[in-house]
Amino acid sequence: MIREKCARMLGDRDEAQDVAQETFLRFWRADLADSDPRTALSWIYRTATRLAVDRLRQRKRAGAAASPSDAIELGPEGSLAARRELERIARQVPPAELEAAILHRFDRMGQLEIAGVLGISERTVRRLLERFDRRIAEELRA
């Protein structure tokens, strides 16, 4: 499950594996084995997403998306183009926006779900996603 989530977020197989490994290591250290599944799952989603965001922001600037016009539209599984676009802009986007965007775009989560995982209000999630969308729109115009 952790590996599947990381693969959705990161296009690079080795990086996805690294992030999955780190997530599981932290999960084991956090001693959450006795938590209810939903609590543990929220922790896993939050941690894996944050680790993936760190990786995306650390990458050197990726090549331009092949087709900016289709870069933002995501199917249920998340398109390769969308992932590349995310990689391209990751360094310009605040981590909080990236986290919300990843949970929304790649994990198909609603605003209320995202709020629960990140421990923030639904209103804040909505603002983060709106800011992210505006940023994407500006990138496309540039």
């Binding site: 499950m1 952790i2 599947e4 594996q17 938590s35 599944p37």
Partner: protein
Amino acid sequence: MSGHPSFFELDALALGGDSPSVREHLESCALCSAHVERLRLPVAVPSLPARAPTPWLRWVPLLGAAAIAASVALVLAVPARAPWLAAKGMPSVAIYVKRGQALTLWDGVSPVRAGDRLRVRIAPEGYDHVAVASRSRSGALVPLFEGPIDDRSSEFLVPGSWEVDAEPGSERLVIGLDHRAVPLAEAAWKTELELPKGER
């Protein structure tokens, strides 16, 4: 948004959660059903010996959160310069020791203690099947794990962890790799590790 439940909801269901709406969706969606089924594939668990536990070692698989353990991808971060116990290019083994909240990579010499939990990580270098056993005082091999390796080009974390008991002596682990499911004694590549035990 997409007409599908979120992956969070699907994963929650796979972990034993109950969502009537998600279950209803699965009845008509092959994609989401396939995702849940992949997570529900059983993880090979150690086969506990039918007889009494060995006098010097009691292995207690980590089943505290069985549903989570069965579905998480069991991988473990490895430091960049992990002391893998083998020559470069050959299969190798690393042992992780969890003591309380601290997780360390066994350095090959430090004693383990009663209550420590051990995990085995393997670089299979092309082999497809792994078997792990403990060696009893009598020399017999007590099976702990046997199963396929998903990605033989990548490092593999053996599912489950085992608790060290307070019996004197040392822990002896035997790890075997092969391209087929064969008895450990016949494995193409084998290694045996002796972990000294210290006072608590």
